[in-house]
Each structure stands twice: as structure tokens, then as C-alpha cells.
């Protein structure tokens, strides 16, 4: 039985360093190659030694697919391809290909230049790695090789995020990456067709949450920001440069416009303008509304939002600052946080998920004293707010996607074990399909049961379809018979006659003849004629022929009459039939007539029937 194997190297019962290996139809595919924000040691990257202990990965992998540009999905890519060694194709969508190297370079700078780590990938490595990238278009079927094909679907989560379908023969797997089932202010909702994969590998970040309407969350967010500004406080919103940031910018921009607010909004790092430019060039990846109006008004040109300078952090008065990165684990957001943490008038709004081990995670869990580098501690007095804005599907969304794709099996990654367990139960109950949740390094195996594709001769198919009547009736099964010829790699199903021809075989006729005596005073031709007329009247729907050479044929059964010279009233009935005669030709004959001759003939034929019938 063919099997599909799925092994997470990262994101198995965890969030961070997504990296999932899939073995399907003899092909090995790596899905995502991310880093873990919660660690600074080896655990930061997936454990590639699982694939091979020594040397390069090229010969073990047929392709690598990156779902979107977040670092927990692509952060380990240059390490994997350049330092461990992989030269095969890496697939990602155009926006991901454009943005991913920028974030990688950012990540590298923070790690190497600021933290002074060595043995890390270089700028050149990022470039070399990106040279191996093959861009993917939505819905395009990409033939990785003769057997393996992949297809990307819109996932919504961030600009360019994709779900991928991986297909070998009739077996398939869908990997969702991160996705969002509700459209937001700048992106559309994820969509997939009813592709019925053998396994659907889904993220499950919000496995147990069913979030209230987006509108309520937005109102809440604006209210909190507004209140804080009103009382003269500073609001810090740690974000990743691309994605949620743009959505919140659009939200604040329109709010400022409407309320005529004057407090400045800043966006840290030089990336903003560039980032917005990407959104403009990749406008086809945003939602319907933005796409429709972009010629008149580009949603990504902000009037109220200005570039941030480090010195502004000490300016008096209220302000809103978007700063990177989003989990307060390094960089500018952390610096500003340290500056503002001591004042209870200030506020930090965490608009997304924070990985364990980050400062973001700690303060969200109510920690008010933080140990910083150099043994100093930081008192956290500012207000800490959490707003779930990160664009992941919630429990409802995940169920919705399952309904869309109709998978045969489910596999959860990118979530916490306890929450996964809960969702697993729900899925198994509602859809009656198996749900797996392997931990890192653990393999989930799914046995598939693929149908065998065969080429059927059109003659045979049409003949069989015609037998079922003019209109196919799904309730009435139609049996068909044929011969399957297996030659090299081709499977052909043809009629037996054609099979003989194609295989160059001669047909062997097997015939039986039996003689039956009966009394009838008529002449031979008369007797035959009477037999013919009778059979004609009782065997409706069968081909009965009276041939000029003095035989009667019922389908392929031959009946002849002869009489001996001495006794002309004793007739010998010759019945001859071939091995292939179908028994039900005579099915209706059994009920019968009264006249003597006819009865005799019938008896004769009945006997013949019983002979033919006997299998």
C-alpha cells in the first residue's frame, strides 16, 4: 500500500521554525524552512541532521517550498541551502521572493552586527540562496519533474502568502502555511477548491479561539489608542515591517482622518516606504476593494504616518509608534519599549502572537519585572494590551477550510499541543477523518489507496455505456467485462476480441453438439419451420434467424433437423453451441405451451439450456 509520510522538523506541536518534510510517491519535499524566535542557540533552526548526518541535502530533497515571508517560515533558508547545502529548486510566490531577502538581511544584521554572533549566514549567502528560487504564480501548475507537480492557492495571511498542493499521480497533500479565512483591510480571504487531498496539513495557531468579529476588535483597538493619546501617553505597537503593520496603518490613517487627530504617528525603520512600494507593485495580491480603486487612490500612500527617528522617542507629548520587530525580542521595538516601560501613562499594544521566551510573551503573561542583559531588571509600569490582529484562521476558519478542501486525513502543525489536542477531537468528531499532530522529529504515516488509471478502449466503453440504456442510471450498476493488457508502463483495458488481436493470439473455438430425437410426422423443412415460428413467438427480444441452408439460429445456437431414411417421423434435432453462449438467452422459455411438438422442442431446448446453464 502506498504511504505518505509527514515529519515536522519544526512547528510540530509548537509555533516557530516551521519546517515539515513530506514523502509522497517516492518524492521528498520540504515545506517551509523557518527559524524560532524564542531561542538564540542551535534550537533556533530546524534539525537538518534528521535528513542526513553527513553532507548536503540536495540528493535527499526534490524541492523546497516556502509559504510566505515571515521569518518563522523562511528564516533558516540561507542556513539550509548555503551552510548545510541544498542546490535544488526553492519555490515561493513573487511577493515572497521580493520581500523574503530583505527580512533575512534584517535578521542577519540584528544577529551578527548587533549581537555579534559569528558562524551565521552572510549577505552573500542570502543572495546565493535567492538565486535558487523559482517564482510561483497562483493556480499555476508547476511541474517540478515528470511526476511531481505543485500548485499555489491564495492564503491571505500576508502579502504573497500561499497554500500549496503537492501532487504525485493521484496522491496529494495540501500545506496551508499560515492563512486567514476572513478578508481584512488589505488582504483577501484564503480559498481552495474541493481538491480532496490525502492529507491537509494546517496551521493551528488559534486552534481553540473563536474570535469575535473583526469590526469589534478594530473598534477596541482604536478606542485604546485614542484614550491613551487623549491622556498624553505614548503608544508603542510592535509589528513586523510587512503585513499586519500595513493593515493597522490603514486603520489608523482613516481614523485620524475622520477624527481630525493631530498626534503624530511614526513608523520605525526605513523599510516602511519600501514596504509600501511592494504593496503597490503587488496590488493584485491585495483584496478586491484596494485592487478596484488603486488607480484613483493608492491605499498605501499614508498622509498621517511619518518615518521615525530614534531621537523622537524622547519627544514630549503623545505619539503612536509602529516599531519592528513584533515580539519585542530585539531591535528598535525593544529599545523604545525599554524607554517607555517606566511610565504608566504609556501603552504597548501587542497586535500578534508572541513566541515563548520573547519579552512580548513574558509581558503578555503579566510579568512586571524583566531581567535584561547585564543583570539589570526593568520594571514594567506601562499598560500592556493584547489585540489578536495576527491573520491566522481561528477554529471556525480551520473547520471552514476542511469543508472546502474535503481532505481524507488531517494533520495539525504550528500550534500548541494542548490546543491542538482539543481541535483534533473536534475535527475527528465533526468530519470522521483521522487527525494527526506529530511532534518535531515524529513521523505521521498515512496509507493511501489510490485508484489505478487505465486506458479503456472507447469502443468497449461506449458499448458498456449503451447497455445501460440511453441515460445512465446511477442506481443501476452496469457490469462490464474486458481484458486488461499490461505492457511496459501502459495499462489498457479492451474487449476480449481486441485483446486477442493486440496480443497476436489466435482464438480457439470450443463447440458442443448434441443430438435429440423427437417424433414429428411433418417433413424436415416443415419441422424446422415450426420450430422457428415457435421460438420466434416465445423468445421475444432475441435474434432468431431461419437461414437458407436449412438451419435456425437462436443468437449463436444452431438448430438443424434431419430424419433417418427408414423412419421419417423420427427426427434428429442437432443443437450446436459455442462455449461462450450466455445462459439467459433462454431465460423466458421455461414457461410454455401445450401442443405436443412444441413441448417436445421445448424439452429439447430445455435440456440444452440445462446443459448450457450448468457451470
Amino acid at each position: 500500500m502506498p504511504e505518505i509520510k509527514v515529519t515536522p522538523l519544526g512547528a510540530g506541536q509548537d509555533v516557530g521554525r516551521s519546517c515539515i518534510l513530506v514523502s509522497i510517491g517516492g518524492k521528498n519535499i520540504m515545506l517551509d524552512c523557518g527559524m524560532h524566535m524564542g531561542y538564540n542557540d542551535d534550537r533556533r533552526f530546524p534539525d537538518f541532521s534528521y535528513i542526513t548526518q553527513n553532507g548536503r541535502l540536495t540528493e535527499f530533497l526534490d524541492c523546497v517550498i516556502i509559504s510566505h515571508f515571515h521569518l518563522d517560515h523562511c528564516g533558516a533558508l540561507p542556513f539550509m541551502s548555503e551552510m548545510v547545502g541544498y542546490d535544488g529548486p526553492i519555490y515561493m510566490t513573487h511577493p515572497t521572493k521580493a520581500i523574503c531577502p530583505i527580512l533575512l538581511e534584517d535578521f542577519r544584521k540584528i544577529t551578527v552586527d548587533k549581537k555579534g554572533e559569528t558562524n551565521f549566514f552572510t549577505s552573500q549567502m542570502i543572495k546565493d540562496c535567492m538565486k535558487k528560487v523559482v517564482p510561483l504564480n497562483l493556480h499555476q501548475t508547476v511541474q517540478v519533474d515528470d511526476e511531481l507537480e505543485i500548485k499555489a492557492y491564495y492564503a491571505g495571511h500576508v502579502l504573497g502568502a500561499a497554500m500549496v498542493q503537492i501532487k504525485v499521480g493521484s496522491e496529494s497533500v495540501v500545506y496551508t502555511g499560515d492563512y486567514n479565512m476572513t478578508p481584512d483591510r488589505h488582504l483577501g480571504a484564503a480559498w481552495i477548491d474541493k481538491c480532496r487531498p490525502d492529507i491537509l496539513i494546517s496551521e493551528s495557531t488559534y486552534a481553540t479561539t473563536i474570535r469575535d468579529s473583526k469590526r469589534c476588535r478594530e473598534r477596541d483597538f482604536l478606542k485604546k489608542v485614542h484614550e491613551s493619546i487623549e491622556r498624553g501617553g505614548k503608544v508603542l505597537i510592535p509589528v513586523f515591517a510587512l503585513g499586519r503593520a500595513q493593515e493597522l496603518c490603514i486603520l489608523l490613517e482613516t481614523f485620524w482622518e475622520r477624527m481630525n487627530l493631530k498626534a503624530p504617528i511614526y513608523f520605525s525603520t526605513g523599510l516602511t516606504e519600501k514596504a509600501n512600494h511592494y504593496y503597490k507593485l503587488f496590488i493584485t495580491w491585495t483584496n478586491q476593494k484596494i485592487r478596484k480603486t488603486f488607480v484613483q487612490r493608492n491605499m498605501f500612500e499614508f498622509k498621517h504616518i511619518k518615518a521615525f527617528d530614534r531621537s523622537y522617542a524622547d519627544n514630549p507629548g503623545p505619539m503612536v509608534v509602529f516599531a519592528t520587530p513584533g515580539m519585542l525580542h530585539a531591535g528598535q521595538s525593544l529599545q523604545i519599549f525599554k524607554k517607555w516601560a517606566g511610565n504608566e501613562k504609556n501603552m504597548v499594544i501587542m497586535p500578534g502572537y508572541c513566541v515563548q521566551g520573547t519579552i512580548g510573551h513574558k509581558i503578555l503573561n503579566g510579568q512586571r519585572k524583566l531581567e535584561m542583559e547585564g543583570r539589570s531588571t526593568l520594571d514594567v509600569k506601562l499598560q500592556v494590551e493584547y489585540m489578536s490582529f495576527s491573520a491566522h484562521a481561528d477554529a471556525k476558519g480551520i473547520m471552514q477550510l476542511i469543508r472546502m478542501a474535503e481532505p481524507r486525513n488531517m494533520l495539525l502543525v504550528h500550534g500548541e499541543a494542548v490546543k491542538m489536542e482539543f481541535l483534533k477531537g473536534k475535527i475527528e468528531q465533526e468530519f470522521s477523518i483521522d487527525c494527526h499532530m506529530p511532534a518535531n522529529g515524529e513521523t505521521a504515516t498515512v496509507t493511501t489507496n489510490p485508484s489505478v488509471p487505465v486506458d479503456i478502449s472507447l469502443n468497449l466503453l461506449k458499448r458498456e455505456m449503451a447497455l445501460g440504456g440511453p441515460l445512465p442510471d446511477p442506481k443501476k450498476p452496469r457490469t462490464m467485462h474486458g481484458t486488461l493488457i499490461m505492457k511496459e508502463n501502459s495499462l489498457k483495458l479492451v474487449s476480449s476480441e481486441q485483446a486477442l488481436k493486440e496480443l497476436g493470439l489466435n482464438e480457439h473455438q470450443l463447440r458442443f453438439t448434441c443430438r435429440v430425437q423427437l417424433q414429428d410426422p411433418h417433413s424436415d423443412p416443415d419441422t424446422l419451420n415450426r420450430i422457428y415460428t415457435h421460438l420466434k413467438s416465445v423468445l421475444k427480444g432475441y435474434t432468431i434467424q431461419h437461414l437458407p441452408d436449412g438451419t435456425v439460429m437462436v443468437e449463436s445456437i444452431v438448430i438443424k433437423v434431419s430424419s433417418s431414411a427408414e423412419d421419417t417421423s423420427t427426427k434428429v434435432l442437432l443443437l450446436s453451441w459455442s462455449y461462450q453462449v450466455k445462459h439467459f438467452y433462454f431465460y423466458n422459455v421455461i414457461s410454455s405451451n401445450t401442443r405436443a411438438v412444441k413441448r417436445l422442442i421445448l424439452i429439447a431446448i430445455n435440456r440444452q439450456i440445462s446443459i448450457v446453464n450448468h457451470d
Binding site: 513573487h94 521572493k97 517564482p135 504564480n137 497562483l138 499555476q140 501548475t141 500548485k151 519600501k274 507593485l281 503587488f282 496590488i283 488603486f294 488607480v295 489507496n449 485508484s451 489505478v452 487505465v454 486506458d455 479503456i456 478502449s457 472507447l458 466503453l461 458498456e464 455505456m465 445512465p472 446511477p474 450498476p477 457490469t479 462490464m480 467485462h481 474486458g482 481484458t483 486488461l484 499490461m486 505492457k487 489498457k492 483495458l493 476480449s496 486477442l500 496480443l503 493470439l505 489466435n506 482464438e507 480457439h508 473455438q509 470450443l510 458442443f512 453438439t513 448434441c514 443430438r515 435429440v516 462455449y579 461462450q580 453462449v581 450466455k582 439467459f584 435440456r607 446443459i611 450448468h614
Partner: protein, 617 residues
Amino acid sequence: MLDCGLDTTSVLNFLPLPLFFPSFQELKECAGRVFVDSQPEFCLPERELLDLSTIDVILISNYHCMMALPYITEHTGFTGTVYATEPTLQIGRLLMEELVKFMERVPKAQSATCWKNKEIQRMLPGPLKDAVDVWTWKRSYSMQEVNSALSKVQLVGYSQKVELFGAVQVSPLSSGYSLGSSNWIIQSHHEKVAYVSGSSLLTTHPQPMDQSSLKNSDVLILTGLTQMPTANPDGMLGEFCSNLAMTIRAGGNVLVPCYSSGVIYDLLECLYQFIESANLGTTPFYFISPVANSSLEFSQIFAEWLCHNKQSKVYLPEPPFPHAELIQTNKLKHYPSIHGDFSSEFRQPCVVFTGHPSLRFGDVVHFMELWGKSGLNTIIFTEPDFSYLDALAPYQPLAMKCVYCPIDTRLNFHQVSKLLKEVQPLHVVCPEQYTQPPLTQSHRSDLMLELQPPPMPYRRCSVLNLPFRRRYERVYILPELANSLVPSEIKPGVSMATVSAVLHSKDNKHTLQSVPKPPPVPPSKKRKRVMEEPPVVLAPKPLLSGAVPLEAFLATLQKHGITEVKVEETADGHILHLQADDTLIQLEEDGTHIVCDNNEPLRTTLRDLVLRFLQKL
């Protein structure tokens, strides 16, 4: 339906839509030719040949080939789906919108119909007399019809496989001609038809043509070759630039009648490089069209559909086309029409790009009137769709200089024969025109398709049977059945198995399932069951093959206690006489005949013994 184009050359028979029109008169003579003074009308695709409501699918190859969509999808009962790529849809919408706006700006009170009367038309001179099917010519559609027609479009991406009713799969491939332009593959599991329409092998802005996917086609339908087989696009571009520079230097204006998308992007890019070197840095360039802004903006957001060079620009991120920079530096300005801002900002000498290339409607008519009388000015034709002499006819006499440099990047005959050699289709189907040299150049045998086997030509309304026989169809054997099959080897590498199965056909997909065992009859319902017909699902007996060897068969008979056998040799084999039972067995190379009376058990035994030696199919 493959494509849905509009024949716009019919508008050449009409007078230009003037800005201020004089009193109504149906026919007018102008410089020796007669024109119809009416809202211009278009020649539609054939609508009488078949019931358009029976069309399930329309495949669009590029935005020029969809201009007749509203005529087909509206008011005909059409309920199918139109497939096109996103750039094709968006730019096609712009071109339709432009057409509608041009027409709506200067509405004519009535349309002329008298001249269409056969008796009158017969009397008319020139091209009007010979125009065919004039009664089917139609005025432009409305924006509402455009929107409704385009709402039936389903977007597809290159190499996306779209299943149609389970019967065939269609897939667009890049054709290299314009943004989002496609060739189509229509295939089942065993047959493949390629539709090649409007393709280009030149490196311009669109993604290069995908040739390899066209390989192994049974039939290749070829259309949309260049209309200018003798004009080299690069040479024309050079001529365009030099004429433009010459006119400007002499203090004249340049008018470029063009479509709002397509070659104009290449012209602008060419000028971008040319402006500085030709010292035209201060000359204003104007692009005037109701959709000028949208066209320029849209061109920048379809990075995925552009050639590699342009694609990599968005990674920087920079706009893929340099006209963004021309606009930023104020060298290129665009306006929705000559009214409004343009009239106050307009400086001469200048270069104006505007439509429509037929010179019958649109802002170009205004410039013809404004500049036509001065020999300093030049009109440069770049679009190949219209004969420039016909286009200019109603404006004669004209002092303005005319330069004709048609730029048609589509395949020429030389490129086609190279392409066909490469992709090796079994049969080629093409318009009749491609199978003979052009009428005006009958000696140019290089301007036609010469192929082995010769291409199958078609003409308007001809019905062609494509030359392939469908012999196989895909069927799926469900795993349970597949596991139950018992293959036997016939010769090395070839095995066979007999299959008896239940055939399920749904949405043109066929599956084979094991024959279900008759369900055990619950005793309580027994009586009811008896009344029903027994299901007829018994397998028929297989065909037999092989021969029965005499010696081995005799040995087998012996083993089964049949010992009294008299063997008699005949011409074709042997006759075995089973004396004890008065039974004959005739053994021959290709047949066995058992003659046995009234002894059913013996007959059965003999049959089974014979069968042991034979292959069953």
C-alpha cells in the same frame, strides 16, 4: 469558442465622428470616395451558423481578441463561462471602456440604414459595394453590457489546468504577444489540441512564449500571424524614432494614432532611451485617452506576466516600465480627453499618442483637423490593423506628412515554420489565407505556409472535421478491484488479466468497481424478493486462445478414467472417438468440437479438461 474578436475595419466605411457635426445626410462623398455618415458600425463574429446559447466555454487569447464579447454573451441566451487571464480581462475592459466612451461622447441621433438596402448598396462605388453581411453590422455596445459580459469571465493563470465538465482540460500558455496573452492547450488523456493565436518570439515586455508545452499536439490550430510579414518590427521602431525626431526638430507636431495598451508601452520605453540622445528632453509627450491613466497604472502591477528583466525590477522594488519615470519627470503627461486640463496645458511642438487608430472616432479626429493642413506635422501609423490609406481617405486632401511604420510583433511565416518544426504537431489547421501568397504579392511563395502534410485550411462558416480518431478514454480502477485482478504473463513483459466490474460514469469520469456480491436476503422480506427479477450480473464466458496438444490431452483423459480412445488423424488435426460413451472430440489448431449426446456430466468433464489447456481472455 476560441476567441471573440471584433472586425473593426468596417468602420473605415464611415465618416469620422466629428466634434461638431453638420446636418444629417446618409451618404457623403469625400475626396472621390463615398462614406456613410452614421455612428460607425462593427462587423461581428458569425452568429447564424449555430445557436450561441449552446456554447459552454469561450477561451480568450488576448485583449484584442475579446472585443466582441458583449455581442455574444448578452442577448443570445449564452450561459457559459469565459476564460481569460487577469491582464487580458483588465486591459480588455479598458479597451472596451475606451471604445464606448469614444462613441458616447459624440452621439449621432440615428444610424443610417437605407444604404444597406441591397438595391442601393449595389449602386454604390468602391469598398461599400463589396461589403458583406452589412445587415449584421452593429453599433457599439454600452458600458452596462460590457460589465455584464465581463462578469462572465473566469480568471486563469498560465499553466493552470482547468477541468471542463470532466471531459477535457484546458490550460493557457504564455504567447509572448501582449500582457497576459495566451495560447491554449485543450486536451483529454489521449488527445491534444493546441490553439496558437497571436504569438510573438520577439523580446518585448510580455513573458516569453511558452513553446515546449505545445509539443506533441495532435492538431495545432494556427491563427493571428503578423499582418505585416514584410515589415521588420525593429526597423520600424527605428524609423518611428527618426521620423519623430525629424518632425519635432523642424518645429512640427507628431500624431501617433494607437491603442491604449500594447505596443505603446514599447514605444514609450524606446522613446525613454531615445529622448536624451536625440535632444528631445524638452518636448512634451501627451497620451490622451479616457483610459490612459489606468492603462499606464495597470501595466505596472502585472509583474508576474512580464518578461524576466521587468519582473526582476519589482524585487528592488521599482516599477517595471520606465514610463513611470517619464511621468514623474513630467516628460509624459496623460489626459482623459482633449477637454479640461489638456487644453490649457498643451504646448507645441509635441508628440501625441491617442486613439482610435482607424481615425474614425476618438480624440485623434480632433488632431487630424487641427494639424492636417500643415506640412510641418507628421502622422505616424504604428498599428497594423488598418490600411493607412483607407484610414486617411476622408481627410484628403491632406498637407500633413504620413509615415507608415506598422509594428506587428506577431509570428511571421519564417518564424512559424521554425516553430512548427520544433513542436511537431501531427496536423495544422489555419485560415485559408495562410495557404497561399498574398493577392498583391502572388510571387512571394515565402509568404505562405508550406507544410508536410499540408495544413487544413478553413474559411468563414466552413465546418472542419479534425483529423483524429478517439480510441481510448481514461478509467480508474478502484483499489479493491485492482487488488483482486489476477494477471498472467502472455509473453515476456506483457501480461493480461480479465476484468469484470461495475462501471460508474459521473461527470465524464469513469470508475470501475468490483461487482458487488448479492446482498443476503433478509428472511422476513423473502416473499417480496422472489417477485423481483434476479440481477443479471453473471460474467460471460471468456474468449479462449491457444491449442490443445494431443498427447497431453490423452494423458489427462486417461487420468480421469477415459481410456478407450480411438485417435484418427485428419487434415486439420485429430478426431478422438471415446468408444465407451459414443462421443467424438475433434481437436484442431484453432478449435475443439465436442459431440456428445445426453451425457451432461461427461460433457462437463470434457469441457473442463479442454479448458485446462487454453488461455482465457
